[in-house]
């Protein structure tokens, strides 16, 4: 019931806003739909925590401790993003960057995007998971090109083609998985249900499954933004409107990684070797290192934080690749704190760029003087994402590092160097933007800065103290990932 609400509300919101998304109160309606979805997700979460995994609609949907936490996170960040986008999009409209028609498109697609992500998270059918991931790309393509500038059109085209090709690989992987599954489960249409596959995973044909996992990892990995499949990501983040960058970075990447993790559980069961984990560790480390070194060359602030997302996705992929309860726990925690921190940073960056009238680092100066809340938000958010204690990112990165020292000692120096390089690159640039003198214009509407600090406060809390039920919940999910 709550699950139906979680899925139906954003779908309904998308349809309603497709008609009324340009009206005066559309931004409020958008926020209201997001809030209602969030409330439904909280009730759903409470139910799962109390009663354990849920299977609904003839097992087509399956919610357990792993995906319910992502559902809660997704709806929460979706809600705060809708709060942020209200003044942000209004200012963009007054700056003449948006017409009412495009605002309507934005509101409608935002809700539909939430729907596709929630569908991808809650479905039990790996085929539907693929369909939802592809639909998530489709709903955001037109959002990336919302401003219709040459650069944004190029970014959207790249996004569509690269993710389309990538996700086609994942479809081939799914077909191979089905091939292995139907030999065990028969052709009753249940052979793609994850719960069914999980029960018989040790009987699945290992050669087919290892090939399937390669295709699935490459396919969904394109959407995670793993190097060398990451080319679309910085462009799409930099050229799209900031609320879209925030949800792409904070949520979509997580959902794609979730798909990879689900497939990894099956592959591990069938192969009884570290094949899947090794692949993920390799891709993760490569992404981390490449992104860290690209960071210092970025001139566009949104592009820089997009590379930072690639870097963090690399860390998380590495953690899940290592496996084991501790590493998976750290990976899940890092997913949470990264998504909260990165969306907070994009909120702050969005307002900063609006003030300066440019996204270039060199054009943004003296934010703390001009607008203390935006400036401090950006500075604190950056410190948090760089893994400074006492923020939550420190806790999860520390955990990943110490686990790596025990399980994969060779990787530790690589991790440390990459994190150090990333620190130097981001901190140097953020410091220029935050301090110094400035003559930036005041904004016509007060910025929605509350979400930034709510997110950062949560990240801070997760760094100092993880509530016991949350820790238990992560532990359950981590056990399950293995």
């Amino acid at each position: 019931m709550e699950l139906a609400a979680v899925l139906a509300l954003p779908l309904l919101g998308g349809i309603v806003l497709a008609f009324f998304g340009h009206r005066r109160r559309a931004a409020e309606a958008n926020a209201a739909f997001s809030l209602a979805t969030f409330v439904a997700a909280v009730i759903l979460t409470a139910g799962i925590v109390a009663h354990g995994p849920l299977r609904a609609f003839g097992e087509q949907f399956f919610v357990d401790s792993l995906n319910v936490f992502l559902i809660a996170l997704t709806t929460f960040v979706g809600f705060t993003t809708s709060l942020f986008s209200r003044p942000y999009m209004r200012i963009e409209q007054e700056h003449g960057k948006l017409t009412p028609g495009r605002l309507r498109l934005f509101h409608s697609m935002f809700q539909l995007f939430m729907f596709t992500m929630l569908l991808a998270l809650s479905t039990n059918n790996l085929g539907i998971l693929w369909v939802a991931m592809e639909a998530a790309t489709l709903t955001t393509v037109l959002l990336v090109s919302l401003y219709r500038t040459p650069a944004s059109l190029e970014a959207a085209w790249k996004y569509f083609i690269l993710c389309g090709v990538g996700i086609a690989q994942a479809l081939f992987g799914t077909i191979l998985l089905y091939l292995a599954a139907e030999r065990v489960l028969g052709r009753e249409g249940t052979a793609l249900l994850w719960t069914q596959l999980d029960a018989v995973k040790d009987q699945l044909e290992p050669t087919v499954l290892s090939l399937a996992f390669v295709f699935l990892l490459v396919g969904y990995g394109t959407k995670v933004g793993l190097v060398p499949l990451h080319n679309w990501l910085p462009d799409a983040h930099a050229e799209g409107p900031t609320p879209v960058s925030a949800v792409l970075s904070g949520l979509l990447l997580n959902v794609a990684l979730y798909a990879v993790v689900r497939c990894k559980v099956l592959t591990d069961g069938a192969l009884e070797s570290d094949f899947a984990g090794n692949l993920m560790m390799g891709f993760g480390l490569l992404s981390l290192v490449v992104a860290a070194f690209f960071l210092s060359r970025q001139k566009d602030v949104k592009r820089m934080f997009a590379y930072s997302s690639i870097e963090h996705m690399g860390i998380i992929t590495f953690a899940f690749g290592m496996g084991g309860p501790l590493a998976s726990f750290a990976g899940l925690l890092h997913m949470t704190v990264h998504s909260l921190t990165k969306s907070a940073i994009f909120f702050a960056v969005g307002h900063a760029a609006q003030k300066a009238g440019s996204q270039l680092v060199d054009d943004i100066r003296g934010l703390i003087k001009a607008n203390p809340t935006v400036g401090w938000g950006l500075l604190l958010g950056s410190l948090a994402i760089l893994g400074m204690p006492p923020f939550g990112v420190f806790a999860s990165e520390f955990l990943i590092l110490t686990t790596a020292m025990q399980q994969q000692p060779w990787a530790t120096p690589v991790l440390l160097v990459a994190l150090g390089v990333a620190f130097a690159a981001i901190f140097g640039k953020v410091q220029q933007m935050a301090f110094g003198d400035t003559q930036v214009r005041p904004l016509p509407h007060p910025p929605a800065i509350l979400p930034v600090f709510v997110h950062l406060a949560l990240v801070l809390m997760l760094g100092l103290w993880i509530p016991p039920y949350l820790a238990e919940w992560y532990r359950q999910a981590a056990r399950f990932i293995g």
Binding site: W130, T149, I161, V165, I175, F294
Partner: protein, 222 residues
Amino acid sequence: MTPALPLLSQIINLLAAVLLLLSFAMLTQRRILSLINLFALQGAVLCLSTVVVAYTTGQTHLYYSALMTLALKVLLLPWILHRLIRRLNVKWDVEGLVNIPTTMLIGIALVILAFNLALPISQIAGTITRATLGIALAAVLLSFLMMITRSKAVPQVIGFLSMENALFFAATSATYGMPMVVELGIALDVLVGMIILGVFFFQIREQFDSLDIRHLEQLRED
């Protein structure tokens, strides 16, 4: 599975060969209009082979997916593409980034690679169509190649759609098709994707006065 139906499985193999031939034809075809027709033809071959497989194996749900292929890939998508190029007035010949003989040679190499890759899988698959899995994978890679070597937006999209065709063929030959609900979802995605691309073409045209995606090369790492 049974040797009692050698004719039907031979027909399936023949259709698979035609599909591969069409993939090569698309790779070398430079006129957009002919490219769309080839795409429609590929859809028709796909539909036919799905019907033959359905008849041979008695998998009734394959009739539905054949019907869906007919409606979507033979009729609707080519129609949309035809309308689109008429409205956008793009009739010119497509210049490739690589010349045709080289493309063909790369294509042949890809086919050999695909056959080798598919060999272990097709031994596991229990379908009568398993021999065609290599061809399906080859067609996927050839559409991939087509997307890489074309510089115009419309041929790239046709390459994308033809990759979808090839994947569908792979699903039919490896497992007699995916569950119906998944196939419906995929078809919906393809359709919505096509509509969004249609909108997108107009946006690109409006901005650059051309559909040459070489205009879309401003965003680079420097």
